[in-house]
């Protein structure tokens, strides 16, 4: 086990961590604003991956360009999901909301199995074997692009939330819905917009990973669990926390991969997850509950 192998693993972990961050940001936005734990988030990412796959194979659109398709498509799906399915149960007990999103997730995943078969699909771009060479390290170009995409989108979301009027409205609605209503903010509208943004984030994450990750109906499952870990680690509702958390979990995964063979590598993350839930459920950057 030489230093280059370790560095390589850590860098790969960091890069994929960027993608985890992006997925988690969508999840944490939705939770922060609406207190909804969106189990279907992974399925949304999966839809983004398939959108990219089909755009590439049928229309020869480069995956990174198909982000432009993914964003509106996933936004609309997310907004519709919120408006028609979630709004009626906003006041229902928490576990019902969880079950509803689980139901949607089941439906979407198996719809994908029905439409596109459970077979793994791969998006083979012309530059899939392009590497950046730094000394003895070889870093996959696609992973770097995925990381950069994640950073750009994270930046956009952060800018949106902190500098725009919409962002202010979203933050108001999340902190004090009744107060926001009194200030003339259409809280209902904010909810589906936020959900749409969250879904779009998942979709972009899907697009960015499709080039180097196999695409199959239940791929979202891994990502949604990881995203939950990131969100809990970073603090529910904290965008900054989701960002940092994603990178940390990416690194943890890399470490796990170095120590344990095969499927066991996720065990580190799971144990970390359980420990955080027990000892610091508000996360590293979380505030109230």
């Amino acid at each position: 086990m030489n230093i280059y192998y370790i560095l390589q693993s850590l860098i790969d972990g960091l890069l994929i961590g960027g993608v985890y961050s992006l997925v988690a940001i969508g999840l944490t936005l939705i939770f922060g604003v609406m207190r909804i734990v969106n189990f279907a988030h992974g399925a949304l990412m999966m839809l983004g991956m398939y959108t990219t796959y089909w755009a590439f194979n049928l229309l020869h659109i480069d995956p990174y360009l198909s982000i432009l398709i993914c964003v509106p498509v996933l936004f609309i799906i997310g907004a519709a999901f919120q408006k028609f399915l979630i709004t009626p149960i906003l006041d229902a007990p928490e576990h019902n909301q969880l079950l509803l999103t689980l139901g949607v997730s089941l439906f979407l995943e198996n719809l994908a199995v029905f439409l596109w078969s459970p077979n793994y699909r791969v998006t083979r771009t012309s530059y899939e074997f392009a590497y950046l060479y730094i000394g003895d390290l070889s870093i996959s170009l696609q992973r770097v692009l995925a990381f950069l995409t994640a950073m750009v989108v994270t930046g956009i979301v952060y800018f949106l939330l902190s500098k725009t009027d919409l962002g202010k409205a979203i933050r108001a609605a999340s902190e004090e819905p009744r107060g926001a209503l009194l200030m003339g903010i259409n809280v209902r509208r904010i909810y589906w917009i936020t959900f749409g943004i969250g879904a779009a984030c998942a979709g972009v994450a899907g697009s960015a990973t499709a080039p180097f990750f196999p695409v199959y109906p239940t791929v979202g499952g891994i990502f949604v669990i990881t995203a939950f870990m990131v969100v809990v680690l970073g603090g529910m509702g904290s965008v900054l926390g989701a960002f940092a958390g994603g990178l940390i979990i990416g690194l943890a995964d890399a470490v796990g991969g170095m120590i344990f063979p095969g499927a066991m590598k996720s065990i580190i993350s799971f144990i970390l997850f359980i420990l955080i839930l027990l000892f610091k459920p508000t996360g590293l950057f979380g505030s109230k509950n």
Binding site: N96, L100, L108, I225, L277
Partner: protein, 333 residues
């Protein structure tokens, strides 16, 4: 006027002779049934009974105490693997193995419960922690060759061996699963209106109020977890003996957690018959869809998804809860 009400026993209620008669009749019919129906229907009924047992286990923790677990496959797997491993390595009859499996499951459950409830985890966090634990076991059993790894464990058939819980015919399994199911239903019915059951529901309805009234909410949750884990594990052992083959996916897999919990949720969480009703509705539905859409294995799960969403939106208290409310409306007319 008051004296009449006091005597009626609204809390410590019995079922009354009429209801007992119906139950005895139903049981009698169920005993006769397997001799009159084709083999694949017997199989379906065995599945209904087994999943009712496991669903009822989930129900104790989820429906009555309000702690929804998304990882009950954990106990299913522990049950199945414990009895199977004890049989394969020590030759221990599953009739004893089932007891050990139950205890092992309770031990793990209490461990998870200790971690979760001591720190006051609830709601989505508890659901996810259970999922995480189930996945940890799932991954571990896939990787660990000594317990069969991803290939699973095969129990060599010894033909008809009642002492080893093996039968060449389905009908004995029908009776075994029927009796265990009846026992599970009875256990829940007994504690439902007892101090234990009322305490469970108080914890579900309002933890603070429960504590203020002298209820040790941690203890209540732990008791519920123990019953829940044990009951589900029993289903796991019966399942393993019936199929004579288990692997990490069909026991610890996340889908099984869904299968276990969806039945009481649809049927009516927090009711005695909810898991049975849910099983009766969903098991044939999934068998039927699997028949019709043979090429597409996922369709029945799509339907689960739709049913789950529909029930949450329109019948959040499950079928029984909805029926009860309708009865209330007619009663107060």
């Amino acid at each position: 006027m008051n004296e009449n009400k006091h005597a009626a026993g609204y809390l410590a209620r019995g079922l009354g002779t009429k209801k007992w008669f119906v139950i005895i009749l139903a049981l009698a019919l169920l005993h006769v049934l397997p001799w009159t129906i084709p083999s694949h229907i017997i199989h379906m009924m065995i599945m209904i009974f087994i999943f009712t047992i496991m669903g009822q286990g989930w129900n104790v923790l989820g429906g009555y105490v309000g702690q929804f677990s998304f990882g009950h496959a954990l106990f299913f797997g522990i049950g199945a693997y414990t009895s199977t491993l004890l049989f394969l390595h020590l030759g221990l009859s599953p009739w004893f193995g089932i007891i050990i499996a139950c205890m092992a499951s309770i031990a793990v459950g209490l461990f998870v419960g200790l971690l979760s409830f001591r720190y006051g985890l609830s709601g989505p966090f508890f659901a996810l922690i259970m999922l995480a634990f189930a996945e940890i076991f799932h991954i571990t059993f896939i990787t660990w060759k000594a317990v069969g790894g991803s290939l699973g464990l095969l129990i060599q058939s010894s033909g008809n061996a009642p002492l080893l819980m093996q039968f060449t015919d389905k009908i004995p399994f029908y009776y075994i699963s029927l009796w265990f199911m009846a026992a599970a239903l009875y256990v829940v019915w007994r504690f439902e209106k007892s101090r234990t059951g009322l305490y469970f529901m108080a914890v579900r309805e309002d933890k603070d109020a429960a504590e203020a009234l002298g209820i040790n909410t941690f203890k209540s949750q732990m008791i519920a977890m123990a019953i829940s884990a044990g009951m589900t594990a029993i289903g796991g052992t019966i399942y393993a003996q019936y199929l004579l083959y288990i692997d990490p996916d069909i026991t610890f897999g996340a889908i099984n957690s869904v299968e276990i919990m969806i039945r009481p949720i649809i049927g009516g969480p927090g009711t005695v018959l909810g898991p049975l009703l849910g099983s009766v509705v969903l098991t044939p539905l999934s068998e039927f869809t699997r028949e019709v859409f043979q090429a597409y294995s996922g369709v029945y799960l799509m339907i689960y998804g739709i049913v789950l969403v529909a029930v949450i939106m329109f019948l959040p208290e499950g079928i029984i809860g909805f029926a009860n409310r309708m009865f209330e409306k007619f009663r107060t007319r």
